[in-house]
Symmetry: C2
Subunit: 289 residues, 2 copies
């Protein structure tokens, strides 16, 4: 009964309490002053949770935002799942909290956590197995700006992603974003990998971009399968000279790129090896909830 | 009675209705997907309103956010003032609105407006007259990132300002932010001007920074008083070689810089001329509310 009431009321929890509304003085609204994580939950299992929590914790420390204990967030997730459908994307927003007008914050500020459950298509598991079909990658005009202090973080200042994403239609699997040094960085919602001569490449993210959880997993998968991988600066021209490309994120896993600009790619053994490694190990990274 | 109830309830209006809470699916929370304005209201007069509204409208058009009619916002402001104290900073946040999870937006999306009244110190008018006293400017390590599409806009992705502002204490009048070409851009909450040999200089904001309303007014004041002004790229070294510096924003008007790093400045005739021009014309830009 309580569970049904929760479902009817809200798909959000604000600091663990079912509520659709956030206080208007929250710093996410005024400054985008916070972080987020998007976690896959499928068949009552949470994928790569320790990796997500660890990134959130480390990023929060960097921005001097108080990070809730892991169990506090797991409690929220359990509450959401008790009334929500799966598969789902659990979105966790960690805000620095509320404050008066002004950029200044105090270091021991009470944070706000905004968690939500976002149902995924019912055939989600088949999405994971469909990756080799691939799709076309758009090249966005909107760049991702260079900022060493924010590089790597999944923070809430996402206007660039919003503008980039709205340059292309749903036919594309994602849009590629470059920085203003003309280096390829990432997709609007994914990381990028490339293969050439049986070696993997992925863009350096020391100046900008988000260090995705699935990116880390792919790097580990490559290591495990002894596929050489280099983290490098890549231009669009470099990508056009590659043998194959794929993108990754926590919800899609991996997806091959069939086309970029005029270049048509075919998927090869390397991508399939990484994909199989990922697929065969991902259940080890899933914890029951 | 209704007015007192409003005051007791909330200092925010969400789409014109007194409310302290914003829907959790609002895109300001998730992406900082919106714009803001901070307008000075003093003795029932709203300062530089047409300039603020015009900037908001033009910026909204650039980001494809629907901008409410001017009268809709003026109605909100009147409601806020009916129960609030003055002088005050009226903050208007224009959000792209609510949406499902995902960066994509639809072009005709219903926007959200979040307006609030933030009381200023009661002796505010004396602040305007105290500017020549000046204060020290901090040099922030946090840079302002280059993004041609967002340059000039007062958008809600303000994590850089938040981080920069928290590098220094309240003793400083503001903190100076540079871009990663090592060009000086602005203060965390102000624009910058410099004087050398009876000529004014202000940083070019084509790559990053906010084109402040007061910055525009100062440029007009300089023109009116026939003070030559150049919009240029300036380094920190250039600033140290200047005769004097001042900062500006819509709430403080102008404030001289007495010190930057080891350099001590004194205020001269040029700054005083601009200040007097601003002070003598600002009432022409104030409309009764």
């Amino acid at each position: 009964m309580a569970v049904r009431a929760l479902k009817a009321m809200s798909k959000y929890l604000i600091n663990g309490i079912a509520a659709d509304y956030l206080h208007a003085s929250d710093r996410t609204i005024h400054y985008g002053d916070g972080l987020f994580e998007t976690v896959l939950c499928h068949a009552d299992r949470l994928y790569y949770w320790p990796q997500h929590y660890s990134r959130l914790q480390q990023s929060a420390e960097k921005l001097q935002i108080c990070c809730p204990h892991e169990n506090v967030l797991l409690n929220d997730i359990n509450k959401l799942l008790s009334s929500g459908t799966q598969p789902a994307a659990i979105k966790i927003i960690l805000s620095r909290g509320c404050s008066e007008r002004g950029y200044r914050y105090t270091q021991k500020q009470q944070p706000t956590r905004i968690t939500s459950l976002n149902p995924l298509p019912a055939d989600y598991s088949s999405l994971l197995n469909r990756q080799l079909a691939g799709g076309e990658l758009f090249v966005c005009r909107q760049q991702v700006s260079i900022n060493k202090n924010l590089a790597g973080l999944k923070h809430l200042n996402r206007l660039e992603n919003v503008l980039a994403r709205n340059e292309f239609k749903d036919e594309y699997i994602d849009g590629l974003m470059l920085n203003n040094n003309n280096h390829v960085i990432e997709g609007t919602m994914s990381n990028l990998f490339a293969v050439k001569n049986a070696q993997l490449y992925t863009p350096e993210l020391d100046l900008c971009g988000v260090t995705g959880i699935m990116r880390e997993q792919i790097m580990q998968a490559a290591e495990h399968r002894r596929i050489p991988l280099s983290v490098v600066r890549l231009t669009l021209e470099d990508l056009l000279a590659m043998d194959e490309l794929f993108i990754s994120n926590s919800l899609i896993g991996m997806s091959t790129v069939s086309r970029l600009a005029e270049r048509v790619y075919t998927s090869s053994e390397i991508t399939a090896t990484v994909f199989n490694e990922l697929l065969s190990t991902m259940d080890n990274y899933a914890q029951p909830v």
